[in-house]
Amino acid sequence: MSGFINSFSSEWLKKRRTAASLLTVIGSLLIPTIVIIARIDDHATLAVANRQPHIWENLYGRNWQLMGLLFLPMGVVLATSLITQLEFRNNTWKQLCTTPQSLTTIFLAKLAVIGVMLMEFFLLFTGGIWLTGALPGIFFRDVPYPAEAFPWKGVGNGSLRFFLDILPVVALQYLLSLRFKNFLIPLGAGLGLYVASMIAVHWRHGYWIPYTYSAYNFMGNAPQKFHTHWWAAGYTLLFIGLAYILYITRKEKG
């Protein structure tokens, strides 16, 4: 276990000053920032809005609308590819594969870093949602703190569902980024599948494309008898298993 922790810690250090780590922070706070600016701009309605009983549900929906449909899948495609491709870009696979750690440890540590970055993203975004309600009151004396208490449990459950539904995208992007040296392949495949998923989201067999799941989650229009989270878990395990086999059996390690 200590070997894995050291490996994770080493992988975590590598992401310092990378585009992926910047993307996690900017991507998570971009929509809340826009919502805050829009609310402040419309400050005449703020006092009434903050007294509404469902103010947080309203803000949660406004924030997740663009995030669930666009930014989350696109950001995950980009960040996972960037993090995994770090070794190809710096020609460091050969150094990494001659360090005293098993290939399984390397595979899992990299995947864990992406998972933790995703959690970091969700935490920042949740904090951002809270700020969209709380911050305007600091700028305007007549605007009260929202009357309704922040629904931590509901927001947490909602975030957990989005987290689960985006995992197959992480797993497939991880597989592609480990497999192909050319950054454009995982990126192109990811963006292509995302566009396909947006077209397929109203199709009755759209659930075959795992990139549709965060949209289903937000719109609540998943096909009947289709359990998004179970399918997401199944696809995640399938892609991770496949990625592992392809990585371990690769003839050239670096």
Binding site: S10, R16, K94, Q95, K251
Partner: protein
């Protein structure tokens, strides 16, 4: 001069142990072209071993196979007396390497690059500053490795290879990109390491430079080992010739 295939084991001290040993190592490219044919490499413990050959001779492929970077097709690899495949992690913990171009994270500083690996090797943090001083990179500060000159990147690659205080150092063309002053510094460093008992395996086609440094040599040409033994044995009967002349004679003879 002792050809590798002549079976004259006397070229090595019969009492010495081999730090690295390959038996019948062969490799084919996917097209079916042989890159290596039955390489029996014997690197004695405590030697500075020059693995010499022209570009495309099979040096890097051999080293990549030895380090497990290429999947072995045929033959055996033993390091520190143990089969590599079964003892990979234990062997790599006592080994440092630099293969082809240096592997550095361009967005990180020299210290950060070393810290990434220090975590995995679990060596003391002080070691980072020691290897930076050894390789002349102590003053690079916050400069990111992406802005380093080729020579500085090469030095950082060597610093990475030295980080875990290895018992065996495998370096592929280590003086690439270094200026004359840098070459002398790195040569002195290898000699100091050798004096401390570290086995140094250097692959190079720069024969003049190798001649000043190595105690043992192996010559590879078109995937076949033409000679291996001590430098004295390589020069046997050719005391007036430099390594380059001897090398050319051997490769012409094998053609």
């Amino acid at each position: 001069m002792v050809p590798a295939h002549s079976g004259r084991a006397a070229t090595f001290d019969p009492m010495s142990t081999y730090c690295l040993e390959t038996t019948g190592l062969s490799h084919l490219y996917s097209g079916g072209d042989p890159v290596l044919s039955g390489i029996d490499l014997r690197v004695p413990e405590g030697s500075i071993f020059g693995f010499l050959g022209p570009n495309g001779a099979g040096k890097t492929t051999t080293l990549r196979l030895v380090l497990g970077l290429l999947k072995k097709q045929q033959g055996e690899i033993r390091i520190f007396g143990k089969p590599f495949a079964e003892n990979r992690v234990a062997i790599l913990s006592k080994l440092g390497s630099l293969i082809e171009t240096p592997s550095v994270y361009s967005h990180l500083t020299a210290v950060e690059n070393l810290r990434v690996l220090q975590k995995v090797y679990r060596c003391p943090q002080d070691r980072i500053h020691q290897v930076l001083a050894l390789t002349g990179l102590a003053d690079t500060g916050k400069k990111r490795a992406g802005r380093f000159s080729l020579g500085m990147k090469q030095r950082l690659g060597i610093a990475i290879a030295l980080l875990n205080d290895p018992r065996l150092l495998i370096l592929d063309e280590p003086t690439n990109g270094l200026d004359p002053e840098g070459i002398v510094e790195i040569r002195d460093l290898f000699l100091r390491l050798h004096a401390r008992g570290v086995t140094v395996l250097l692959s190079s086609h720069q024969l003049g430079e190798m001649e000043k440094l190595i105690t043992h040599a192996a010559i590879i040409h078109k995937g076949r080992l033409l000679f291996q033994g001590t430098l004295a044995a390589l020069r046997e009967g050719r005391s007036g010739d430099d390594l380059e002349t001897i090398f050319l004679h051997l490769t012409k003879k094998s053609a």
